[in-house]
């Protein structure tokens, strides 16, 4: 394929352990190589600069999602689970599910949750910090960034308390499945069927509590806005995409503050910065690092032609640190920056439909922490958890000085 080879070639495997542990050097190399890069390991074209990633994300007509947003091409191979009606669907099939979910998760709809989540966050922070004074050491991942979403989000969806511990491994395997069939996927495979079955079982009408997002989705089916058989798959989208991503976004946020102490002081002085802080952390660490699309025709981008039916790989994390867009300080976490327009939630018709939920969770947790913690710093080096799609964490030891 001359069109593929005429782009600068990079041999590195973006899904190997070293890169997953620290993707920043490869991101830099990809951006420098050119607007469109040929990844020889998978024989696909990739974009790492903001301009091309943004352009490809919004062009749903040229770059479809329905052939899968991972490396697997659903035109040629069957997916491991029934495709998502949102993430892995194009218009017109994508329209109704998206419309229903967008309404249920809109900022206006979330207003009723706000007070409760702020109170929940305060309660959790009080449990974790206790009535201690001086300096406290915590592992932020299990104690805060996993426990807070797992405390509020499944309740908001309306699933029972039992079995919630399955949500994280299910999401982890799902996001691994967007990459190549490597050892990460293999490690998840033995439990995949069981986790999928559990998740699917939570999406049934009779399981979901009244008043939750899940019941709202079934109500949309009763109104005829979606078909009844679509409702469980849309609930599944919430459970698939709503937990791991938020957990890692929150971890990124606390890691950012611990490593940029001046920014914590700034937040304490102006707690209204909590909202901007989360988006800046999502820009800076990009919990969702990469997504694929498939060209629907020969399509030109960045001066190259992507042939019909070919997968492209968009490096969202790299675009979010592109100096061409963010300036020389792109690698810094900076509350003085306007992170608007980052592609950490995607862009266009597939832009993260749960982004307002994630922002509210982050605002609640950060507000509660900022009230009690005067200073944050790393207590030990953080430990990454490797995932083919997510910039993910296993442990984030922090030392907090109580105010």
């Amino acid at each position: 394929m001359t069109t593929l080879l005429s782009a600068p070639t990079i041999d590195a495997d973006p899904f190997c352990d070293e890169v997953l542990a620290d993707p920043i050097p490869l991101q830099r190399a990809l951006r420098e190589a050119g607007p469109v890069v040929h990844l020889s390991t998978y024989d696909i074209l990739a974009f790492a600069r903001y301009e091309q990633v943004h352009a490809a994300l919004v062009d749903w007509q040229g770059f479809q999602s329905g052939a899968g947003v991972g490396l697997a091409n659903f035109r040629k191979e069957p997916p491991w689970r029934p495709p998502s009606l949102l993430l892995e669907a194009d218009p017109p099939r994508h329209d109704a599910p998206r419309r229903v979910l967008q309404k249920i998760l809109s900022p206006r709809a979330l207003r009723t949750l706000r007070e409760k989540w702020l109170a929940d966050a305060e309660a959790l922070v009080d449990e974790v910090l206790g009535d201690r004074s001086g300096t406290v050491e915590i592992d932020a991942v299990p104690e805060l960034t996993e426990s807070f979403p797992l405390r509020v989000f499944p309740d908001a969806v309306g699933i029972p308390a039992q079995g919630r511990e399955n949500l994280l491994p299910y999401g982890d395997h799902l996001f691994n499945s967007f990459g190549p069939h490597n050892h990460l996927i293999e490690a998840g495979e033995p439990r995949a069927g069981e986790l999928l079955a559990w998740t699917t079982a939570q999406c049934r009408r009779e399981v979901l509590a009244a008043g939750g997002f899940g019941a709202d989705i079934w109500a949309a089916a009763d109104r005829g806005d979606i078909l009844p058989e679509q409702a469980p798959l849309i609930v599944r989208s919430l459970l698939s995409a709503g937990v791991d991503t938020t957990v890692h976004g929150l971890s990124a946020l606390l890691h950012a503050f611990a490593t940029h102490p001046g920014q914590w002081a700034r937040l304490r002085a102006d707690p209204a910065l909590a909202r901007v802080a989360f988006d800046e952390a999502v820009r800076w660490e990009s919990p969702v690092q990469v997504f694929f699309r498939t060209a629907t025709r020969d399509i030109e981008i960045g001066g190259r032609t992507v042939p019909d039916g070919h997968k492209i790989l968009m490096f969202l994390g790299a675009a979010n640190r592109d100096e061409r867009r963010w300036g020389a300080g792109a690698d810094r976490f900076d509350l003085g920056r306007d992170p608007s327009g980052h592609v950490g939630f995607g862009m266009g018709i597939h832009q993260c439909v749960g982004q307002h939920v994630a922002r509210l969770e982050a605002e609640a947790l950060l507000t509660a922490l900022a009230r009690r913690v005067e200073h944050l710093e790393p207590a030990a080096p953080p430990r990454r958890h490797l995932n083919n799609t997510l910039r993910s964490w296993e442990s984030l030891p922090l030392r907090a000085r109580i105010a």
Binding site: D59, P92, A96, S106, G224, S340, G341
Partner: protein, 326 residues
Amino acid sequence: MTEVVHAKQSRERANAGTARVAAIHTEADGVVSLVLTDPAGGRLPDWAPGAHIDLVLPNGCTRQYSLCGDRWDARSYRVGVLREPASRGGSAYVHETLREGELVGLGGPRNNFPLVPARRYLFVAGGIGITPLLPMIAQADLLEADWSLLYGGRTRKSMAFLDELARYGERVRIAPQDEVGLLDLPRFLGEPREDTKVYACGPGPLLDAIAVTTSGWPRQAVRTERFTARDRAAGVRDTSFELTLARSGRTVVVGPDQTVLEAVASTGVDVLSSCRQGTCGTCETTVLAGRPDHRDSILDDDEQQAGDCMFPCVSRALGDRLVLDL
């Protein structure tokens, strides 16, 4: 004391929500279609069948028109405009004065009439009511749903887009009143069926007749839209207005070539945004006083009427002054 800052105007682009009239075509007696493009040649905001836009005409009139083009073409919109006999300046202006190449203001798209999934659709159009149904039909066909259209009008010559519908053959029934009389709705709609949705758009009497004919149907199976565009107050989007940020005590003048978001940023106040197209909801801001001129794709018509919040990446003010909770 408030501090007045005259914000710098952004130079790269015209107004958020400006379109160029790229072409005007005669579609039937008394019907023209407008093809609208972004003056800078970029993408226009995404839409789905049933969506309408607000068109702000150079004479200040704001009118709503259903989009009836091809959503796979991201660089143009098409609307059909019927010359209303009792026009108060909207359709008469489009038919008599508007010329190719002119700029018009654009709001939305918004969708109060979305196409929901079904195995079978029955479409009923009266006159210019065909416009929102055209893209619905294209999609129903694409999805290989079982569908048919009953399309009525005064005379064959007054009915727009007949040539485009011709390719669907048997599925389309053309019923001009001077040839076949009133539409035979009971016969076309038949008995209610679980798998069927009815979509209808047209003048009041037609929709009333559909309501009577389908009175025994489940309510959610029948979806209608009246094409008589609801008049809105004339937009003042192209002039400056004063913006007060209540919490920070700043006042700024929003210039004609700048968004509210840009004006707010120029005072040093941060509003988080993302899509900057009025589609994602990130920049939602509470309105404390003044009437917003909504240009977003998020709020439905009732929510827009409430006027208690707005999306400053695209929306402006109807009056001389707006107060936001910022």
